[in-house]
């Protein structure tokens, strides 16, 4: 075969230049990130920067289960950005923020269920026994969660958060006048439980401290279970069959949808996750 030597030489030269340029750029990016990592080891991280990192991690988390796939699709540069947003580069300051916000969410849940139990159709004589038991038990579980989050926070040198999440408190206060039956109470509870579960799913991979991550991970699934039960209860109420909300349930009488309404997604979402700074101590 015959090849124009000049053309070949030019192509080879271009190839070498491209390779050299890409290697130089890659080395520079890597060096910069290694420097960033060393700086964070030495001096911690600025709270605002930490929040930004947590937000970035949360944003990455919003891709859900295919986070790895997203990295692959986004290419090498995006993968490196994602590594910076990994738990290894979060700080204890960010962890404390997430733990305080988590405790605040739990405190709000406890307060909300306490209010619900004062309603006659939830905690009074006209309440369904199963619902009353669920609300009472769930409230106690949230109290346990708040203690666990605060304990993890104190371990990291933070202070316990004993107040409710202010943003969510406003939501609850706004909803209170509308709580005139089981359905709106259940709807409100679903909103709070879903927000809690999604927040903890997001925080689990954003937390840098192993104990904090384990504590959070051990709670996220419990909130998800609360959601599942509440969704099933909501469906039966909406279908006009509150009488079927019993334990054990009359299986043969349950509508087919009751079997799957409690778990609408194969992967837990994070789009309702609360910002890490929302419930921090001022």
């Amino acid at each position: 075969m015959s090849i124009d030597q000049r053309t070949l030489a030019e192509r080879v030269e271009e190839s070498k230049d491209l390779h050299s340029d890409s290697m130089r750029d890659t080395h520079a990016a890597l060096d910069e990130m290694v420097d960033v990592g060393h700086e964070r080891i030495a001096g911690g991280v600025d709270p605002d920067e930490g929040h930004q990192l947590a937000s970035e991690t949360s944003r990455l988390l919003s891709g859900g289960v295919m986070g790895g796939g997203a990295l692959a699709a986004a290419g090498f540069g995006a993968a490196l950005v994602a590594l910076v947003g990994s738990p290894a580069f979060a700080s204890q300051t960010t962890d404390v923020q997430m733990l305080q916000t988590s405790a605040a969410i739990e405190n709000l849940a406890v307060a909300t269920y306490q209010v619900a139990l004062t309603l006659p159709f939830i905690g009074g004589a006209s309440a369904l026994p199963v619902v009353k038991t669920f609300v009472t038990t769930t409230m106690n579980q949230h109290a346990d969660h708040a203690k666990a989050f605060n304990a993890a926070c104190i371990t990291l040198g933070g202070k316990a958060q004993n107040n409710p999440d202010p943003t969510l408190l406003a939501v609850v206060n706004k909803a209170k006048p509308t709580l005139n039956g089981p359905a709106p109470v259940v709807a409100l509870a679903i909103e709070l439980e879903t927000g809690a579960a999604e927040t903890y799913v997001a925080y689990t991979s954003a937390l840098s401290n192993l104990n904090a991550r384990k504590v959070t991970a051990s709670i996220m699934g419990i909130e998800a279970q609360h959601v599942a039960v509440l969704l099933a209860v909501q469906a039966l109420i909406a279908a006009g069959h509150p009488d079927l909300i019993t334990l054990p349930p009359p299986l043969a009488q349950l509508p087919a949808a009751a079997g799957s309404v409690g778990f609408p997604n194969a992967f837990y979402k994070t789009d309702m996750a609360r910002p890490a700074t929302e419930g921090v101590l001022k």
Binding site: M1, G68, F89, T137, H145, S218, M220, V229, A257, F263
Partner: protein, 279 residues
Amino acid sequence: MTDDRRANDTPIQISEAELNAMTADMDDMHHASLPALRDAVDEFKQLADDLRSHAAGDGAKTAASRRQFLFGSGVVLGGLALAACASSSKTSSTTTATNAPTTAVSSGAGKLTGDLAIVALAAGLENLAVGTYGAGIAAAKAGKLGTVPPAVVNFATTAQSHHTAHAAAWNAVLRQADKPAVTGVDKTVKTGVVDPAFAKVTDVAGLANLALALENVAAATYLNGIGLIQGVAGIQTAASIQPVELQHAAILNFVLGQYPVPNAFALTTGARVPSDVIG
């Protein structure tokens, strides 16, 4: 390339084999430059690991915990004893713990270690769940479980589809790591627990109990893994699946007439280990 060579406009005669050889040489040169890049990436990864250990406060404890998970002898699957698996498992905790920092899981990909061993274990558990629900649905259709309420059928088909999606997610992680997908199941659990238990299933309650055990062990395995997996994508994946498995468990508890949220904190009891045989 010299100016003399640039100035030479004379076409050169070259065989395709020679051109291929030259191209191969250039490819070799390209690959020769990659180790430096890999070294930089490795340094970055090492830095991330150091930071994580630093943040955990006790790197040694973390490593020990990891080994405990990887070599742990969890022999209970929900309420079902897994004693038989201890002897059937090819890897014993006492004989391997001193030999390597991580246990390798055997799969179609060969020996996997570290995060990928946990990923393969997860895929094997998910595949087992898919198969078990499939067998249950088939048994129901064949009338072997008596009357099966529509809600239970809907539960089983939906849960099965979730587990199919979970297995696909884990296998996607393996493929990204240039490892073959795990198409087999956790044989340790299947032969030690599921097969004997399924043989005794004669009704909906029996199947629900078996499914509950599988859901709880999957959730426990993910919760345990979240404390051990190093890669953020792996943690994200486990965190997005574990709550769904517990939701399945909540509805199964409800179906069985048991309180649907029995614990304030999810448990790691019964978590499976990478020493399980996957295939």
